[in-house]
Each structure stands twice: as C-alpha cells, then as structure tokens.
C-alpha cells in the first residue's frame, strides 16, 4: 500500500463529498411502463409502433414504421400527429421527470425528424407546426452547441425552428424575422464581446417596427442583467426551457415582459435569480 492509498483507507467519504445523484436515485423504470407514458402512447397501430420507435430513439424502426403506415393508407398528418409527436410527448415527459437524459432526447428527436421528413415527402410540403422560431448564434461567435440544443428541444416539441447557424450577421437575423414572422427568436453567444450583438439586433428590429420576444442565452458569459437591460429580450437559463417559453407565448399570450417576470413559474422550476 503506497502513501496515498494509506491515506485513502482512513477516509470517511461522507464528510468529504456526497454523491447526491446516487443517494437519491429512485427505482429503475422501463420507459414504456411509466404510467404517464402509457397514457400518452397511442393504443392503435401503426401509431403505437411509430411512437414507440421514437421513444426508443430507434431511427431505422421509426422510418420504416412511418413508411408502412403511409403505404397502408394513413394520412401523413395523422402519422405525424398521432405517431411521431406522441412519441416525443412521451420523451418530454420522461425528460421532465428525470428518467430520460439529453442523449435520449436528442436521439428520439433525430428519429422524429427523420420520420417527419418521410411524412412530409408524402405530404408534398412542410407540415404545420405549432409555430416558428428563429435561432442564431451571435455575430463573431463560433460556438453553436447551445443553439443546436435549443433547436432540437424546440423541434422535439413540435415547433419549427429555423436554424440560421453561427456567426450570423445581424442583418440576416432581421431578414429572417421579416421572412418567417417567428413567435420568438433565440440568440446564443459564448462571449461577453459577442453578446453585444443582441441589443443591436433588437435596435434594428425596433427601427423596422418589429416586436418579437428575443430569448438571449448562452453557455458561457451571457448575463441576465445584460440581456434584460434592453427591450424585447429575456434571459434564457437552460436550453430545454425554450419550448416551455414558446408554449407560454403561444397558449398564454405571454409577452417578453411577462416572461421576464414569470420565468420561474413558466419553466416550472427554480432558477437562480438576482436583480
């Protein structure tokens, strides 16, 4: 036994670091046996198989079941709404409960998106979504994983997220807002010196007489006090909050002022706040 091992043998870990994640873990579940998932999953085929494939994040299976369904005469819109989206609803439920994790959600999202493409091929045009959101990474900023997560969370919840990419010039954002008339937009940035794009975009929107809630967030240096120091903008805390904010705009007609005030209630969890 060397020295560090000798020291280690004396340690009572409970006084050093507690793995609360392990300590508090509930019993294992099989996704499909979760009572809420059972309620969400459709009973009839081919919807049930499609939804289950999405729930499992099995893209091949999802696409093949979608094709089968379409071949057997189901309408593309039914396949989307009764199959694919139900699968995602179940996924979202499990993610919210803490049984599913980001990778589950991303893989299910991929499956859903592939199934959607198949259905839209049959439909001949893009399907209707709950609403459109424009997402971009601020000019000068090459970091886009945050934006990619936001886009996926939105799509997984039935929104059409227009992905403008990274290092997006402010004019392109304005152009996209004019073109897509989104219910809101999301801007992400990683650096103090790139988040300054947000107020410039907002100013430009104002000049154009446009008002659209702007969720500014970022994995790195973006601060609430900065983001909320100019109009329209709301500080987004987590990528997975995006669809909840979207729902609140769509269903509850929340304005950016409302969202600033009620953020914590809208996303249904504690968010660290300060003024």
């Amino acid at each position: 036994m060397n020295y560090i091992e000798e020291l280690e043998s004396k340690l009572d870990q409970d006084f050093i670091a507690v793995r609360y994640n392990v300590e508090l873990e509930g019993p294992a579940i099989t996704p499909e046996n979760d009572p809420d998932v059972q309620t969400i999953l459709p009973k009839e085929e081919p919807y049930r198989s499609i939804a289950r494939a999405v729930l499992r994040g099995d893209t091949e299976e999802a696409v093949s079941k979608v094709k089968e369904g379409l071949k057997s005469g189901e309408t593309p819109m039914d396949v989307i709404n009764n199959g694919l989206m139900k699968g995602m609803d179940a996924v979202n439920e499990l993610y919210t409960k803490g049984f599913y994790f980001l990778p589950d959600l991303m893989l299910s999202g991929d499956s859903m998106m592939e199934g959607l493409k198949e259905s839209e091929k049959a439909l001949g045009h893009k399907s209707e979504t709950k609403g459109t959101v424009v997402s971009f990474v601020a000019e000068g900023d090459p970091h886009d994983i945050g934006k990619n997560l936001v886009v996926m969370f939105l799509r997984a919840n039935g929104y059409d997220a227009i992905d403008l990419g990274r290092d997006v010039p402010n004019e392109e954002v304005i152009k996209a807002v004019k073109e897509y008339k989104p219910i809101f937009m999301t801007g992400t940035a990683l650096m103090t010196t790139t988040m300054t794009a947000f107020p410039k975009v907002v100013e430009e929107l104002e000049k154009n007489g446009l008002e659209v809630p702007a969720i500014g967030c970022g994995g790195g240096s973006v601060r609430k006090d900065f983001v909320e120091s100019f109009p329209m903008s709301v500080y987004g805390v987590e990528a997975y909050h995006a669809p909840k904010l979207a729902d609140s705009i769509l269903k509850d007609k929340k304005t950016w002022k409302d969202i600033r005030k009620e953020y914590s209630q809208i996303v249904g969890e504690f968010v660290p706040e300060y003024d």
Binding site: F15, A17, Y20
Partner: protein, 461 residues
Amino acid sequence: MKRFTKMVYKKPEEMVFGRAKFPVSQRWNMQFGAGYVVPEVKVAPVEGSEGSKEKMIAECRNIAQSACERAVGIGLPAFMLEQEHVSQQTNNPEWAAETTRVQAEILEKYYDEYGIRVSLRQTPADIRIEERGPGLRGSDYDNKIEESMEACAANGASDLCIETMGGKALSDYGIARGDIRAILFGIGVLGSIDMEYMWKRIVNICKKYDCRPGGDTDCSQANTAMFIAGGLLDKDVSHTVAALARGMGAARSLVAVECGAVGPLKDCGYENPIIKAISGVPIAMEGKNAVCAHSDLMGNLVCGVTDVWSNESVYHRQEMGGTTPEVWLQATGYEASLMNTALQTGQEEVLRDLYTLTDKYRDPQALVLAYDNAHRIGEAIVKYGKDTYLRSRAAAIEAGKIINEAVDANKMYLTRFERDSLDNALKILEDLPVDKDQFIDECIRSYSRKVPDFNPKNYDL
C-alpha cells in the same frame, strides 16, 4: 460575570481547524468544531432590495435557494448560510422575521430532501448611532435590535450574531492618527463595555428558542484598521499598529463568550484564533476565499484553526460560473473539503502548518495570528483576564513582542514606518497607568473634546 483567567487550550499545537474543545450542536444535524469544517456563504442584498419588504424577502429567498442548489450539485456534506441584515431589516423586526422564515424553510427543505447538514445564521445590524440621544442604550434603535434578534430566533435562525460598534468613534480617531491609546480605549475598554451590555440580552433571547448565541467580531474597529492598512505599498495605517489593534480586538470579542456565546464565533473576526485558544469555542474565519470582499495579507494562515470557512460578503449578481451565492459557496466549500480530507486522513497538522507558514512572514498582521502566536496572545490576555483594560493592553504588548522577536531573528522585516510606529506604540502602552479607572479618567479628559461623537454616558462611565 465569568472571566477567562486560564487557557482552555494548554498548548498551541492542540489547536487545529475543524475541532474545538467545546463543539456546538444545532438543529438540522449540524455540529461545529466536531471534526469537520463547515463552509459558509454570505451575500449582500443587491442595491434597491432595501426598498420594500417584498423585495428583501425575494432577495433572501433567492440567495438561500441558489446556495442550496449548488451545495447539492457539487456534493457538499454541510454548509452554513449567513445573512447580515441591512438596516431596514433591523429597523423593521417584521422584515427580520419574514426574511429569516423564508430562508429557514428553504434550508429545511433541502435538509429533508437530501440529508445535507445546514445552518442559518442571522446577523442583525447594529443600527445605533452614538452621538444621537439617547445614544447606545435604550434608544429606539437599540430596542429594535433586540426585537429583531428575537424575531430571528423565533423564525428559524440557527444562531444569532452581531457586530457591535461600541467604542468605534475612539478607535477610528486613533487608527487614523496611529494613536495607540485611543485605539486601546476604543477597543479594549469601550468596546468591551458595550459588548457586555448587548450580549447579556442576546444570550437571554436565545435561551427562549432553539437558537444559539453565536458571536461578535471587532469588524468595526480592528477590521477597519486592517482594511485601511491595505496592501504592502499603501501608506495609510501602519501594519504593526494594525497588528496591535487585532490583539486588543481579541480581548474585546472574548466578552461575547464570557456572556454566554457558544460559537461558531462570527467571521470578519481575524482575532478569532486567539479567542479559540483561550475559550475552546468553535470559530468562523475568512481569508483567501473572501477576496471578493477585501484583500488581506494572510489568506491561508487564517485557515489554520478555523471551524467555519467564509467568503465574508459579495454582491448578489451573476458570474459566468453562476450567481454569486453558487460561486462563492463553491469556493468556500472546496477549501473546506480540503481541510476535511486532511482531518479524515490524519494530516490536519501538516496542512495547518502549511497554511500558517504561507503567510506567517508576509506581514506583521499575519504573524501575530499564526496559531502559536495567537496562543501566546491568549496567555497574555488571561493573565489579566478579569480586567478588560489590562488584558487588552497586555494583548497589544504581547503582539508587539512577537513582532520584535521575529525581527530580531531576521524572519520578519519592517519598513521604517512600521518600525517607528511600533516602537512608539509599545512605549506608550508600557507607560500607561496600571489602574483601569485612572486610564479611563485620563482618556475621557483627553478625548471628549477631540472626538465629539464620543459620550461616556453611552458606556455608563
């Protein structure tokens, strides 16, 4: 009243962080000085939150909630939240009641859910103003402090602290002028008298509730000296004089314990190692993780024998790494973890000594607080334990002696300013009368005119 005339710690080497001779237990399964160091976080309410009770409650809630989230997110086994009240909280005891209650509820929730040990310290503000009638005693301000204390105790505070300001007019005057007699009068005599007045009442309140009397620190006097003394290249207060003031601060802050405070003694109190050596109560300290609040010259050394590790104070706002309650609890939490690892593996004395040697000769202020020297100052204090004047004077003289010995041994180097002001101070201290009443009379005569805010009536003199 009980006065310390003997050392609880017979030898300095017995002292170490995380263990105190007289550990303290609180609700929520929390112990102090019982073998582990507890990290603390403290966040100043944001500007504007003093505008209404609702805002202040929201502010206190958010601070507590953020701290709890980070604590479980990084696996801290225990932590303490302290809220230092703004004047509005103390002036309006119902604010104190409600802000305390909301924080207690949140801590309890996390304790229930995660089993994390938590503690809630509430520190009402000393809102008394000496020069306004009726002064320190019996004023409206004074009564509100008492009511706020009770409001905190009744609404879930684990313990109560305060930073009393008695004697500050004198010590401020003396610190700015290097007048060691004024500093001694302000800290050693007036400060001790005022503490006794305040602490008997706090201890009585605590007896009625499941709430402990924590401690009092010489923030307004000895810390003022350190703050103005600043860094090595500042030219304001002599660092040797500041070191003597710290010694006196120990003799003063000991009064809380003599009145019944059980600790952990409040941080800011760089004098606490001396009081721990004397009394054996657990202490809170701040140092290298309080850089958010101020710069000291002993950030590691003060870890040596602490039981609670604090960040002192920070703006409530957002860092890249999270909000400040999260960020600064993580800072103190990780340092406490290191100390706890040392305790668990039996290496606590090595780590204590490394902490100590890192700063021992960085500055004379650090030198006198090294645990071995702190113990020496403690011995000087208990030798005159019954006389608050003589023991404060003895503490200062012993601090001077410690510095001079280190200088003679070529371990400590002083600038001329530090050298001259120390010589001058020691000469004055040694020439002072040995009779307390005589000293008081002389001081009242000298300072009543020079320090207009000073009124002997505030101290029953």
